[in-house]
């Protein structure tokens, strides 16, 4: 690797010796794993829909470069810098998400996307990590600046964000944002009584969504009773895992990608299960687990509440997204369109991930007495 002298006081030198290099390595492996899977899965999908064979591979690589650069750049920031950037991104993303109501492009019944020349972005992807940081800031302010109604501010912001997401509608993201926000509140020392109340509210919200929103209703029905509707994707996906077995069919040798339209995106985990087999797929699961738990363990040593809450929120978000994606492929959760971080093909979500994990790396850097207590 690049060698930096211990005494190198350049910005990169300091970064290299303070950043969590284990997490960095895990992320690098994850990205490499993703490239292999995209190369295995996407040509079949691209050919089927009439695109150039390596269309998705090229686009994935093209998006990875800015994503990784962004991640490194963000990770150079101090916690304060992170907070500032997050606040800025939060405001812009919030405005854009609100704007999707008006100028958004409707895809599959939801307005989540904004088409810009040469690029289409989903602003809520950026809203999600930025909000986690802003909420952490609010919760920590409650503690550090007596008199400032941080918790109230966090609650109000939460209602605003989740309201926008439900309006789109993007229930999956609303769930993720809710869980992350709740975890942060929980870590911030939420009274155990409120914890119970919030969990109760969450359940009510889910039941409500099931009864009020037809597409949620049908998805959950199909999950609980596969005979009730079309479960083609999940069935194919499970067959792929079984077909892969312990050692897999070998990269490129699988068949599930011939049948699943989302083999390169939402169902890439199934391609991994089929082509790389149980052992390598377990490694993938372990990688996600490692990144999240490694982050947590670093945080335990940190005394800065904001840093702790923000990083924990971002890690929970990262872990949840991975968990939901993998569980959908394994038929443990109802099918939910969510990408597998850094592995799935998915244009702008890669940039958002780079942004989010960049903040995690920045927040988990070792700081020597520079604790920027507020």
């Amino acid at each position: 690797m690049i060698a930096f002298d211990r005494t190198d006081q350049s910005i990169f030198g300091r970064w290299w010796w303070t950043v969590d290099r284990w997490m960095l390595a895990a992320l690098a492996v994850l990205v490499g794993y993703g490239i292999i899977l995209i190369m295995a899965a996407s040509p079949a999908v691209a050919e089927r829909i009439g695109l150039d064979t390596y269309h998705f591979v090229e686009h994935h690589l093209a998006m990875l470069v800015p994503s990784l650069l962004l991640m490194i750049a963000i990770s150079l920031l101090t916690p304060r810098g992170v907070r500032r950037v997050a606040l800025g991104v939060f405001l812009v993303a919030l405005a854009l998400t609100a704007a999707t109501m008006v100028i958004g492009v409707e895809i599959k019944g939801a307005r989540r996307w904004i088409h810009l020349p040469g690029l289409s972005i989903q602003p809520s992807e950026f809203l999600k990590p930025a909000f986690a940081v802003v909420a952490a800031w609010m919760f920590s302010l409650q503690r550090t600046s007596p008199g400032f109604p941080g918790n109230l501010a966090a609650i109000l912001l939460y209602i605003l964000v989740v309201g926008l997401l439900i309006k789109q509608p993007d229930l999956g993201m609303a769930c993720v944002v809710s869980v992350v926000w709740f975890c942060q509140f929980f870590l911030a020392g939420l009274n155990i009584g409120f914890v119970v109340i919030f969990i109760g509210l969450g359940c009510v919200g889910l039941v409500g969504a099931y009864h009020l929103l037809p597409h949620v209703h049908s998805r959950i029905d199909r999950f609980l009773d596969p005979a009730s509707g079309d479960t083609y994707q999940v069935t194919r996906s499970m067959e792929a895992f079984a077909n892969g077995g312990l050692l897999g069919t070998g990269p490129g040798q699988g068949t599930v990608k011939m049948q699943l339209p989302d083999a390169h995106a939402d169902f890439i985990f199934a391609v991994s299960g089929e082509e790389l087999g149980l052992l390598w797929t377990l490694l993938l699961v372990a990688l996600f687990g490692f990144i999240v738990l490694r982050g947590f363990s670093r945080l335990l040593k940190d005394s800065n509440l904001f840093v702790l809450l923000a990083a924990a929120g971002l890690l929970v978000q990262f872990g949840m997204q991975a968990f939901i994606n993998m569980s959908s492929s394994l038929h443990l959760l109802p099918a939910k369109g969510m990408t597998l971080p850094f592995v799935s093909y998915g244009g702008s979500s890669l940039i958002a991930l780079g942004f989010g994990m960049g903040m995690v790396l920045a927040l988990t850097r070792r700081r020597f007495g520079l604790g920027d207590r507020q």
């Binding site: 499970m238 895992f241 079984a242 077909n243 049948q259 335990l300 569980s327 394994l330």
Partner: protein, 641 residues
């Protein structure tokens, strides 16, 4: 200090809570990951075996391999229905650069009509690019050779070999063997092999009746296919079981002889059967058709022509056409009278040429009458008046009952489709059909084989066989053997008639041919030991009016062909130990003695020369004609005169 200490405590407390809660979150995360791992383990290790099997089904495609159709051979093993190699030229789209050009090139070797071209292009659009499309079937050897030598100029064109049914003796065996054709939608049931493209099944004849035996069991070919269904390689192949060979009782040479002999007549048929076994040696019907044209798919014009031909080439007349038996029925009527005891053996009748019943006069065929006749004379000269007299003494039901015992009026269970039952009228039948009672006059007409009575030539042959075989209820069949366990029945129950009575009738039939005044004396067989017996029949097709009768009945040759009488003859040989029974009908042939009897004579002569009953490997030696007194045919041994 206190404040500071408090802050310290609060900080420590908060730190503890925080730590605890981080650990809680971490544990939840670990728990969730464990679920994933458990699920992965379940799917990829536990379920893997089951899914491997399911996935194989996606990869392996089972295709049926059409079984080879069983051969049909005659009693000596001569193949009558075989499978020929059918060369067809096929084209694989993806390997052809210019389809129109290739087809034009091919046209120079194999003529392709515009309809063919349209069909080929249509099939190409429907099928995947790697599936071969048949351009033309049934190529000649020359065409195959030309295409093979030109393969460099015809990329994507290749020759495939299939099987096609062929009948080497064509028209001679058409009515017995039938033919095969494409499976109709209504016939696709049960056996999946029926839905194979190009599969053919029996449409009529032996091919249809014994379809299940001839078809065989489809084989399977396990093919490895890729996701879009392209065949990668064949994993295993099971050829299935070819259909069983069906051995007929038929004697091909005699069949051909008979068919040729009948060819002189516009419309005629003849059947030869073994009087003891019931095996049919010959079953010929003229005109015939070429069944090979059906194998390749018959064109509409030929089919129309066959259907509209008034001489019904598609019909097997021996089982599918009904004729009034005419005087041939007198044999059974005589037996009915003897059996019922209404007359004695020496009963005589004076024939003045007619008989009056009520106010109706029933004429004998001989205007002047036969004078005083006994049964022997009556059969020999076919005296109608004698049988009018018998009919007057009996009810129609008694005649009908005897007819049924001799196989008339019912199907005989022949192993060939299309057998008709004919009609033997009775009181009950008349009442049920016309709603009016039976008239005695109708009994008189029935007694000479006219009126309502209708029989197939096969029934007449069976009747003859049962008369001369000593009174056994032999039934006709065409199949000698299919496989171990499925062989012909050769032992038959007794009908239960007095042998002396039977003897009298058979003696009468002997005299018909061998007495100088017999109606068929001219057609007798003179070769010693080959002599035949028989009975002539001439069945009227039109009604002779009173006026015509008063001016003289118009001679047959002066009538239009359609109105001429049918000529019938039933015969058997050798006369002293009957083995073969024949029935022949020449439609509108005129008199039975002049037209039908010579045909039967020729057939019986040829038949005895060939002696199929003995030449058959399985025939019981003792039952062979001419083998002596051991023959079961103890009856019917009148001294030939």
């Amino acid at each position: 200090m206190a404040f500071n200490g408090g802050t310290m405590n609060r900080d420590t407390d908060r730190y503890r809570t925080l730590t605890r809660r981080v650990l809680v979150l971490g544990s939840i995360k670990l728990g969730l990951l464990s679920t994933l791992v458990a699920r992965l383990y379940y799917l990829q290790v536990v379920e893997s075996a089951r899914y491997t099997m399911l996935a194989d089904e996606n990869r392996i495609s089972l295709r049926l391999v059409a079984p080879s159709r069983g051969l049909i051979v005659d009693r000596l093993g001569v193949a009558l229905a075989v499978n020929q190699q059918n060369y067809r030229v096929v084209l694989v789209q993806e390997r052809v650069r210019d389809i129109e050009g290739t087809l034009t090139l091919l046209t120079q070797i194999v003529p392709l009509s515009d309809t063919d071209r349209r069909r080929i292009l249509r099939e190409m659009q429907r099928k995947r690019r790697f599936v071969p499309v048949t351009v033309k079937e049934n190529l000649s050897w020359d065409q195959v050779a030309q295409i093979e030598t030109n393969t460099p100029d015809l990329p994507g064109v290749s020759i495939e070999v299939g099987e096609i049914r062929n009948y080497p003796y064509g028209e001679a065996t058409a009515h017995i063997l039938g033919y095969v054709g494409a499976v109709a939608v209504s016939e696709v049931q049960g056996d999946p092999v029926l839905s194979l493209p190009g599969f053919r099944i029996g449409k009529t004849g032996i091919e249809k009746y014994w379809e299940k035996e001839l078809r065989g069991v489809a084989g399977t070919s396990q093919l490895e296919v890729n996701a879009v269904g392209r065949v990668i390689r064949e994993l295993s192949r099971d050829e299935g079981q070819p259909g069983h060979e069906v051995t007929l009782t038929l004697d091909l040479a005699l069949q051909q002889f008979t068919q040729k002999r009948l060819a002189d007549e516009q419309s005629a048929c003849a059947v030869v059967m073994d009087v003891h076994t019931g095996g049919i040696y010959t079953m010929a019907s003229n005109p015939s058709y070429d069944p090979n044209r059906f194998s390749t798919g018959i064109n509409a014009e030929v089919w129309e022509e066959l259907l509209s031909n008034p001489n019904a080439p598609l019909t097997n007349k021996t089982t599918g056409s009904l004729y009034s038996p005419g005087s041939t029925l007198k044999t059974v009527v005589a037996l009915a009278a003897l059996e019922s005891g209404v007359i004695g053996a020496h009963h005589t009748v004076v024939c003045p040429g007619y008989m009056d019943l009520g106010d109706h006069r029933f004429h004998c065929w001989k205007r002047g009458g036969h004078g005083t006749v006994d049964m022997s004379d009556a059969l020999r000269q076919s005296c109608d008046t004698y049988f009018y007299d018998l009919a007057r003494r009996m009810s129609i039901d008694r005649i009908a009952e005897m007819c049924h015992r001799f196989g008339l009026g019912e199907t005989l269970g022949l192993d060939l489709p299309g057998e008709r039952s004919g009609l033997v009228p009775s009181r009950l039948w008349k009442q049920a059909t016309y709603g009016v009672p039976w008239q005695q006059g109708e009994t008189l007409v029935a007694a000479i084989g006219q009126g309502y009575v209708l029989t197939t030539p096969l029934q007449l042959a069976v009747m003859c066989a049962r008369l001369v075989n000593g009174g056994y209820a032999v039934k006709p069949h065409l199949v000698k053997q299919i496989r171990q366990g499925v062989a012909e029945q050769t032992v038959w129950p007794e009908i239960g008639v007095d042998k002396a009575n039977l003897d009298m009738v058979v003696q009468g039939m002997n005299l018909v041919v061998n007495h100088p005044h017999g109606t068929a004396y001219k057609a007798r067989i003179t070769e010693p030991g080959f002599e035949m017996g028989g009975k002539t029949g001439t069945s009227q097709v039109r009604r002779i009016s009173m006026a015509e009768r008063s001016t003289g009945v118009i001679k047959n040759e002066d009538l239009p062909w359609r109105e001429r009488d049918h000529a019938l003859f039933i015969g058997f040989a050798p006369v002293d130990a009957p083995r073969y029974a024949v029935a022949a009908v020449v439609e509108h042939g005129g008199g039975g003695s002049a037209v039908a009897a010579p045909i039967v004579r020729d057939i019986l002569e040829e038949c005895q020369r060939r002696n199929p009953a003995r030449s058959s490997p399985n025939a019981e030696a003792g039952a062979s004609p001419g083998a002596g007194s051991g023959s079961p045919g103890e009856v019917g041994r009148p001294k030939s005169t």
